[in-house]
Symmetry: C2
Subunit: 114 residues, 2 copies
């Protein structure tokens, strides 16, 4: 979660994500687009990879970068949960679950984070 948002908190990295939307791009092709060294872009891609936002696929001597379609969805879901709390939906849901002694699996109210 920390890594996800941290990866998104950089203009270059968000731009890399946008560029990889249309299709796979090699790291060196990406590096041409930015006023920085190849190694720097390589590091940005590594950050995105550790956050699960992109995956790399080897093709010959090139390393093709592709976005993970589900990753942004996960980030959005995290914000949705935050927004739900905002609107009090979580509280009401928790209260309903408390009254109904049914299957209460997940805990959405306590602890700083999972």
């Amino acid at each position: 979660m920390d890594r996800l948002f941290h990866a998104l908190a950089d203009t270059t990295r968000r731009d890399i994500l946008r560029r990889c939307v249309r299709g796979e791009l090699s790291v060196s092709r990406l590096a041409e687009a930015y006023p920085m060294s190849f190694a720097a872009v390589q590091k940005h891609v590594a950050v995105l990879e550790r956050a699960g936002l992109v995956t790399k696929r080897r093709s010959g001597r090139e390393q093709l970068v592709r976005t993970d379609p589900d990753a942004v969805g996960r980030a959005r879901q995290a914000l949705d949960e935050l927004e739900s709390a905002w609107r009090g939906r979580v509280d009401r849901m928790a209260r309903l679950l408390a009254e109904d002694p049914g299957t209460d699996e997940n805990d959405t109210t306590e602890g700083p984070e999972r």
Copy 2:
């Protein structure tokens, strides 16, 4: 944008946001909840404030922290745009705008960021 995601990229800060959902909390009240100094929490609140995620209101000698309901919406919208690009919606929209010589204000295709 950078500041927004960076503010969200920390467990303590996300937790502060959740705690301030129900109502305003003073900084010292917040500080009691975490195993760190008052000044550290103060800094976290400052980061959230610079990102526009919370606002502070003075009440006597206390400084009450409150979440900005629209802020998470803004972050979600940013992710929505990213997700739209994923799905190619932005591209099709841009193509439509290109064919229609009408009011083409925003540029969504070039540059690293706004």
